[in-house]
């Protein structure tokens, strides 16, 4: 990549980054604030899990299914582990796995999508046909088969889910990029003799970011659900690793047993709630972002 004459390309920002952030945050609606708080809390829990959790991730501390008490805030699970601690460790594993998986799928799918939109030709044809085929195979069943072939290791799970997800990302990235690559500014950049990397990252990507970010929000949450479904079908994350999806699946029989004592909520509700809350939070933020980039003025 050419490095000379950077002054031509960098337009000085009128405001500093911090000013921009502050201005933007000041206009954020309640829902976006709610979403951001949820995300911050979750990320904090994920990062500082070992310090926050009162007990170990797979430490058996008491009898099974104790109701919540001062000792065990949310009670204990099916083999007597502290539910609250497992939820916190679950944040780390669940968010970590979902994040890595989604990033990977966007890296693969996004790059390929933009590249094929830009290049067209035989590469586009070949990749598109293969992606079509993968899209046409049910994700869950295909993931089951691949996990059986390669083994149920966490790394395999991440790679397989990322690969299957990347086909969805590819389609979206390619479709949106196709609209952008015909734009004049891309043509201009091509005429200027810019390399592929410049065009992809400086011209195309910024302009297809909004739909991609929306997709990121949803995909991110779908990873939890896919893992939960896989756990339900007997593969997925292996015990004793705490993961919200698997935690719901592990105690599924409890969902239909009547709640007996009032403060005692059955074990599967907590991780399910954790997933739901995070999804709502992330999507509130994404909605707000989408709203901001759509150019639609707020009307009260």
């Amino acid at each position: 990549m050419t490095a000379q004459a950077p002054d031509l390309r960098s337009v000085r920002a009128r405001r500093s980054l911090w000013q921009n952030v502050r201005r933007t945050l000041a206009t954020a609606p309640i829902s976006a604030w709610f979403g951001m708080i949820v995300i911050v809390v979750y990320v904090t829990a994920a990062i500082f899990a070992p310090w926050l959790a009162p007990y170990g991730e797979s430490e058996v501390v008491g009898r099974a299914y104790q109701p919540s008490s001062e000792q065990f805030w949310l009670g204990t699970d099916q083999i007597g582990r502290d539910l609250f601690s497992r939820l916190i460790y679950g944040a780390r594993n669940t968010i970590g796995i979902a994040f890595v998986t989604t990033m990977l799928s966007f890296a693969i799918g996004g790059t390929l999508g933009v590249l094929t939109a830009l290049k067209r030709g035989w590469l586009d044809q070949a990749v598109s046909r293969i992606v079509d085929a993968f899209l046409a195979i049910p994700v869950l069943i295909f993931a089951l088969m691949l996990l059986a072939v390669f083994g149920k290791h966490i790394l395999n799970l991440i790679l397989i889910l990322a690969l299957l997800d990347s086909t969805r990302v590819f389609r979206l990235a390619r479709a949106t990029a196709l609209n952008v690559v015909v734009m004049d500014y891309v043509e201009a950049a091509k005429l200027r003799g810019e390399g592929n990397r410049w065009i992809i990252f400086k011209e195309v990507l910024p302009n297809i970011l909004p739909p991609l970010i929306t997709e990121f929000g949803l995909r991110f949450c779908f990873v939890f659900l896919t893992i939960a479904a896989l756990s339900f079908l007997g593969v997925g994350i292996q015990p004793p690793t705490a993961d919200w999806g698997s935690m719901v699946a592990e105690s599924k029989t409890l969902i239909t047993f009547p709640v007996r004592t009032f403060p005692y909520i059955p074990a599967p509700f907590y991780p399910a709630l954790a997933i739901a809350l995070l999804t709502v939070g992330i999507n509130f933020v994404v909605d707000w972002f989408l709203h901001k980039t759509s150019g639609l003025r707020d009307e009260k």
Binding site: V60, I79, G151, K152, Q238, P239, P240, S251, L254, T256
Partner: protein, 534 residues
């Protein structure tokens, strides 16, 4: 029996038959000094004990696949076993609730020549569902079905010991075996060997479902359900009380529980142990727990280092806290094992001494005897062996640490576990559903030349006794031989028997039954003919 009890029993019998009313019975009971509560409970118990006709029994079974077929040689599990054998068909013999073998299609059987030759008399008056009487030819053809060179039957290896199989007249079947086997009648009680009608071409008709059982097949939808209707001409007196029976394949344990809770089925097998307390607390249902023959074990290859040293094996056996695993992984359901694969309910079973309980110091002692300070090895496990195998192994790892043993738990893939791990890796988790006789179990898994000798253990004295006991017809002598064999296996073998797993099943309150058999789930798979609605 004193006079009052006798009077009461007679009155009860009359009450149940409707000859006297409940009030009359209660008055009589009170008059003879029995409390009202006791009288009431006597009355309702008598009702439950007295079989009644009628009703449609619906059972939810945790097995069943779309690949299930009517071919009894390929029956894989409880669904086909209970529905297509226990409900629909009969074998030559059956195993009763006490674990003894009794005649079923065979009226009688006797051996000669040191249990080398067996003669089975076919019961008279037994007919197939289409009305055709059962003859010796049908029996021969039914067993022959498993024996051909291209047979894919799971029973093929069981029948290997047969040299001659022939009909001698219309109601006599003669078997000649390679060696004496006093337990041969047990072999032909297996659920893979129902008696089926012979076709004109000499083969057997397994396709149509025309059998001899208490119920006739209405419809079989593989992997979904099987429905049956009562066989009015069933030969067994006092068996088969329901008008119709329906089996549903419900593989998800939560769905099975919900079907029971919502009243869609009357009986479920394989209860979820996690929520069993909640189910037991529900007074509408009864939970039964029967310790069967099945056992969860870890087996080591005794021909490989370090397991070739008996002291190492002993150290390993003392390093597992079976009680802890039973409590934590199986919620206390089961019976801890003592490195003897013969379940306590099997005839001739003994409980060898000293008991192998958790004792880190003793384990260390044995390690020292083997000339070792510490021990490290890989343990290959998967929940395909038995559900809970992985969790148990992880707990065991913690126990063994205290004895200076470092177990490296390797989680193998579920798929292909029996092909790629079992019998291949040096130390693995395994499961045996158990066998109804000592000989059968030992011949299958611990004899020197057994195809499934998963410990690769070859003990001269053990094998000598095994052959000798097989043809020994004197019971006390046989018992002594079997006791010695179990002791040898306990002291020297390569198996760590963690526990005998129970059959935990649940049913609605209004069902009656006799003593429940332990040889298979669902009352020896014959629940449909043995139980009734009260």
């Amino acid at each position: 029996m004193d006079e009052t009890t006798h009077k009461l029993t007679t009155a009860l019998r009359q009450a149940v038959r409707g000859r006297i009313s409940r009030r009359e019975f209660t008055q009589l009971a009170l008059a003879s000094g029995v409390s009202l509560a006791a009288a009431n409970s006597m009355f309702s118990k008598a009702w439950a004990d007295e079989p009644k006709k009628g009703g449609t029994l619906k059972i939810g079974v945790g097995h069943g696949a779309t690949t299930d077929s009517m071919d009894p040689g390929t029956y894989p599990d409880q669904f086909t076993g209970t529905a297509l054998w226990g409900t629909l068909a009969n074998s030559l013999t059956e195993i009763d609730a006490d674990g003894n073998v009794v005649g079923d299609i065979a009226e009688s059987f006797e051996s000669s020549d040191g249990a080398k030759k067996w003669v089975f008399k076919v019961r008279k008056g037994v007919t197939f569902h289409d009305g055709k009487p059962v003859t010796a030819d049908d029996v021969v053809a039914s067993l022959q079905h498993h024996r051909g060179a291209d047979s894919k039957s799971a029973a093929k290896s069981l029948l290997k010991e047969i040299v001659v199989l022939k009909a001698d007249g219309p109601d006599t079947v003669v078997f000649e075996l390679t060696g004496g086997n006093a337990d041969f009648p047990y072999t032909v009680s297996d659920y893979h060997m129902p008696i089926m009608p012979k076709k004109p071409d000499g083969t057997v008709d397994w396709e149509s479902g025309n059998r001899t059982g208490a119920y006739k097949l209405v419809k079989f939808e593989p992997g979904v359900k099987a429905t049956f209707t009562k066989n009015e001409n069933y030969y067994k007196p006092g068996k088969g009380w329901f008008d119709a029976v329906e089996f549903y394949s419900i593989k998800d344990s939560a769905a099975r529980t919900n079907a029971l809770l919502s009243g869609e089925i009357h009986y479920m097998d394989r209860c979820d142990l996690k929520t069993l307390d909640q189910l037991q607390a529900n007074t509408d249902f009864t939970v039964t727990e029967i310790t069967g023959y099945g056992h969860y074990i870890y087996v080591m290859n005794v021909t490989q280092k370090p397991f070739d040293d008996v002291n190492v094996r002993m150290a390993i056996k003392y390093s597992m806290d079976r009680k802890d695993i039973l409590d934590k992984v199986f919620f206390g359901h089961g019976t801890v094992g003592n490195d003897n694969p013969i379940a306590p309910t099997v005839k001739f079973a003994v409980d060898p001494l000293p008991k192998h309980v958790y004792d880190p110091d003793k384990a260390k002692e044995y390690l020292k005897k083997a000339g070792l300070d510490s021990l490290a090895f890989d343990l290959s496990v998967s929940d395909a062996a038995f559900s809970g195998a992985v969790d148990s192994a992880i707990l065991w790892k913690e126990h063994a640490k205290k004895a200076g043993i470092d177990i490296n738990v390797i989680k193998e893939p579920d798929d292909g576990y029996w092909d790629n791990v079992w019998l291949k890796k040096p130390f693995v988790a395994s499961y045996w559903s158990g066998r109804p006789t000592v000989d059968w179990m030992m011949t299958t898994a611990y004899a020197a030349d057994a195809a499934w000798n998963d410990t690769f253990w070859k003990n001269a004295r053990f094998n000598e006794l095994l052959v000798a006991a097989r043809s020994e017809t004197d019971e006390p002598k046989r018992a002594a031989m079997y006791a010695e064999m179990q002791q040898i296996l306990h002291d020297d073998g390569g198996l760590v028997n963690m526990q005998f797993n129970p059959y935990v099943e649940a049913h609605v309150k209004n069902m009656g039954h006799g003593k429940v058999a332990a040889n298979w789930q669902l009352d020896g798979m014959r629940i449909a003919e043995r139980w009734w609605f009260t």
